[in-house]
């Protein structure tokens, strides 16, 4: 029968596959270096911000002491403020700095009276306004808070990584949800639950990177196949249009390569009694793009330019004025006013121009 179709799988040679895998290994290593650097940078920023807040809190306490505020039980003592400030300046990690910050915040809150005691943060065990927490509770909270900060930084870094952003949108959305759950669990002191959620988040991020690399390698293989096909079709004397995704924006959709003979392009003009010019456009490369509501729309810039040139010539040489081009599947944002009055259903591939 006519309309032939063959279904094949393109296999890359072992040498090409090895080259691709090697390239992916190198790019994978670079990706990991970039991710680690981004995480380190984000954590350093967070450490610096927390240190700045510690200094501010210490200055507030020092100012109160200088004003002669009485040293209440559980309230700030001059030597403790100095010690905490020194610990803040010497801290090299969030794990060291978090307890210092929490203690300073608690001291400031205690000095503002009971209404403020829990305003910034829950007080540590032994404070004046809260019963002692179980042994190790505070240390556990510190560890969880720091791990959360690390995960948050990693998630931010993953989102900034092009291949992860391209291939793992759903996973990243899930990761956002898990991070929110973990944050809520830590703030409520539900550490066991938080620990479980954070473990899931860690696994999800690791899987996202592996998935992104696998899909990227698949896409690189497809790009080689497409490039090879374009090259060969050109060698077979076809004019080959730019490869297109069959569903614009969906990387999982098929890549379509359109190849035509050099003499294929043609425009047929039909002038019916109504005086509306109708064109059958054939052989010009066309493109499908998402419209304003995401619907597929068609455009064919080359054919449109050709028709516009014809219309300019009609106006110049014959004094015939025409309106804009209208076709089925046209992006409504590009439709000229007259198009609203034309029948909706036109033969496919036809462009119409009223008023001729």
């Amino acid at each position: 029968m006519s309309g032939a179709a063959k279904y094949t799988i393109a296999r890359l040679s072992p040498a090409l596959l090895e080259r691709l895998a090697d390239q992916r290994r190198q790019e994978g290593a670079a990706t990991r270096r970039r991710l680690n650097a981004t995480v380190a940078s984000l954590l350093a920023e967070r450490l610096a911000a927390l240190q700045a807040d510690c200094r501010h809190l210490a200055a507030t306490l020092q100012s109160r002491l200088n004003e002669g505020a009485p040293a209440a039980a559980g309230g700030p003592q001059p030597h403790e403020v100095v010690t905490l400030l020194a610990a803040c300046e010497g801290a090299e990690s969030l794990l060291e700095l978090e307890p210092v910050h929490r203690r300073l915040a608690a001291l400031v809150a205690a000095g503002q009276g009971p209404d403020h005691a829990e305003g910034r943060t829950a007080l540590p065990e032994g404070s004046a306004t809260q019963p002692p927490a179980p042994d190790g509770w505070e240390a556990l909270r510190t560890r969880m808070t720091v791990e959360m900060a690390d995960l948050e930084a990693r998630l931010t870094a993953f989102k900034a990584e092009p291949i992860v952003a391209a291939w793992c949108q759903t996973t990243l959305q899930d990761a956002d949800d898990l991070l929110a759950q973990a944050t809520s669990a830590v703030s409520q002191g539900a550490f066991t639950h938080a620990d479980g959620v954070m473990a899931r988040l860690t696994r999800r991020l690791a899987a996202a990177l592996a998935e992104a690399e696998r899909r990227q390698q698949e896409e690189e293989a497809r790009s080689l196949i497409v490039a090879g096909l374009v090259q060969v079709l050109q060698a077979q004397d076809f004019v080959v249009g730019a490869p297109d995704l069959s569903e614009p924006g969906n990387l999982d959709s098929e890549v379509v390569i359109r190849a035509m003979r050099p003499d294929r392009r043609r425009l047929a003009v039909r002038i019916p009694v109504s005086g509306r010019l109708t064109y059958a456009v054939d052989g010009y490369p066309s493109r499908t793009e998402p419209g304003p509501a995401g619907e597929p729309t068609h455009r064919c810039d080359e054919a449109e330019a050709r028709l516009d040139a014809i219309h300019r010539q009609l106006a110049t040489d014959c004094g015939i004025e025409t309106d804009g081009l209208v076709w089925e599947g046209q992006d409504p944002r590009r439709r000229p006013p007259l198009g609203r009055h034309l029948p909706e259903v036109r033969p496919p591939g036809e462009r119409t121009r009223g008023g001729a």
Binding site: S2, A5, Y7, E218, V232, A235
Partner: protein, 215 residues
């Protein structure tokens, strides 16, 4: 009467097998054996998959941004009754022009050589008829040889009448993420073999034939 079709391939959008942008259904099976036929792998009905007409109609209705539907194969008129019912089910929900290929001539089809031929003709806007004849091979719009005629059975696609004497529409190659490759069009005989050998030589990429369908 059957509620199923033997389908070899489905393509939700194609610009080389009829006017505009069209969905294409390749049915499996053709008892004719025209020398040089480019659809040799799907001439055996066993090459296809049995699909329920309702399910296939649902899929076709959901194909985005197409102007029409092309029926090819295989020999569509060997499954004329089922295809006519498929088209009617689609048309109830979506207006698509229908182009159908056949190795039979229009005159022969009007004699109802197989059950349902008139029914399928009744829902067809454009018929491309006649067997591929290697001796008459030519680069023609939507056809492989000059004996094959384009019949506009309704007014729906007549704007293309003046274009049918022009050269062929070329080929369209689809590449999936897993590396599977499918092409559609009516290129000259030997196109696929030449493509495969050049691809191997120029790019070290090897096309391996698959037994399954593109669906």
């Amino acid at each position: 009467m059957t509620d199923t079709l033997r389908v070899a391939h489905l393509l939700p959008a194609c610009e080389t097998l009829g006017p505009g942008r069209r969905g294409v259904v390749w049915v499996a099976g053709c008892r004719r054996r025209c020398p040089g036929c480019v659809a040799e792998p799907i001439l055996d009905a066993a090459a296809g998959e049995t699909m329920a007409i309702d399910a296939l109609a649902d899929r076709i209705v959901a194909w985005p941004a197409i102007d029409g539907l092309t029926l090819t194969g295989g020999e569509p008129f060997e499954q004329a009754d089922a295809l006519a019912r498929l088209i009617r089910r689609v048309q109830r929900r979506r207006s698509l022009s229908v182009l159908c290929y056949s190795g039979f001539t229009l005159a022969a089809l009007r004699q109802e050589p197989l059950p349902g031929c008139r029914d399928l003709l009744a829902v067809t806007d454009v018929l491309i008829d006649g067997p591929f004849q290697a001796a008459a091979q030519d680069d023609l719009l939507w056809r492989g040889s000059s004996n094959q005629q384009v019949h506009f059975l309704t007014d729906r696609e007549t704007a293309w009448r003046s274009a049918v004497d022009g050269p062929g529409a070329g080929v369209e190659v689809h590449v999936r993420r897993d590396g599977s490759v499918f092409w559609a069009g009516v290129p000259a005989p030997g196109f696929a073999t030449d493509l495969a050998s050049r691809l191997a030589e120029a790019a070290d990429i090897h096309l391996v034939a698959q037994t399954g369908g593109w669906r």
